[in-house]
Symmetry: C2
Subunit: 206 residues, 2 copies
Amino acid sequence: MSLRFALLALLRVGPLSGYDLQKQFALSVGHVWHAPDSQIYPELRKMEAEGLVEGEEQARGQRGTRRVYHVTDAGERAFQEWMRSPLEYARVRDPAHLRAAYLEASTPAAAREFFRAHIAQWEGELAQWEGELKRIAALDNPMLARRLAATPPPDRERTVAFKRFTYEGLVERARGEIDWARRGLALVDGLEAADGEWAGSGANGA
Amino acid sequence: MSLRFALLALLRVGPLSGYDLQKQFALSVGHVWHAPDSQIYPELRKMEAEGLVEGEEQARGQRGTRRVYHVTDAGERAFQEWMRSPLEYARVRDPAHLRAAYLEASTPAAAREFFRAHIAQWEGELAQWEGELKRIAALDNPMLARRLAATPPPDRERTVAFKRFTYEGLVERARGEIDWARRGLALVDGLEAADGEWAGSGANGA
DNA sequence: TGAATTTACCTATGTCGATAGGGAATGTCC
DNA sequence: GGACATTCCCTATCGACATAGGTAAATTCA
């Protein structure tokens, strides 16, 4: 359900072809709401059928076409209503915490590998979000620039502020996960120092 | 796919009926991997068909029955293999950050309500996980006690340590979300102080 | 003893999402 | 001009999940 609002968020700035929309999606809104193109196109068609967006065929080259979508009044109202509605929280399904809770069933080596991989995963995320923050600070992000160009000057600071705030949140999240996994590595060290290498296979321990 | 490993994690401790399993699931593993009973029962049947668990019908009262499941050797091997395999990270779909990125389209009042609701949501989670940590410290959690009873003494500290560590991670996560939302409230205050009340309806600002 | 609750388990329906493709037209480069 | 890349868009298949129920038997409680 939230995919449509993610798409509306991006389309409100101005009309875009399906392809440009999904390209820009991946580089902006897609950082907080992932969707592959195979999901975006059918969703756009659905939204069109429901009157939230309108698509117009445009010529491309001699015989090609593309479809350019814009948000309708109904679409704008739906977006505003969503912004005011209570958020729907997904139920937790956290593979890392699931595994961490049962690491006594593993070995120190496998546990360390798990934490190292977790750190690597979230260091990748951290680097990405820090890069985005730099681009925001430099106003060097094409999607944000496009958005600011379509925004009256009094609103620009606010637009930038909320975008910045969001990425700061992603940075903090990534840092939290890295810290947690580092503490996990320390825990494995401590347990191994106390007990020696353990092998957790078998339901009742080694 | 991870539901089966969550179920195996719990079942490795000892055989359980389907009903007891889903009850205990909700109070333990379900904190990191949610699944309703309507999902658990079919999954157990599937796992049985694949040889990961075995179920035995037992009499219950005069005419009733229940099915008690235990992990097979193949199931144990599958669990161990999963513990060693690279974790599969779900793609991000974060409704709160999605909305936060576009709060300039909202009003200060609605933005504050959003952050307050977010704080309330995560304060609920925080209270729950802190409660679990207290129960772990007091060894007052029936599932953990059952698990420790089935665990050789040298392994008990380790079992408790990883469980504690996992809930500490959940606590930190909750705190991070609350802090973020508090900073969001401060941001709204600051923007309102600078610009006065804004109304973000309309794609190009008020 | 009968009503209410719990134990025990299940199905149906639909949505959302993953993944592995695919085709056609246009544009770029050697 | 042909090979390759990009633009533009799409489908099929399947698994995971949400939700709204449902039935039957046993147990509990007033």
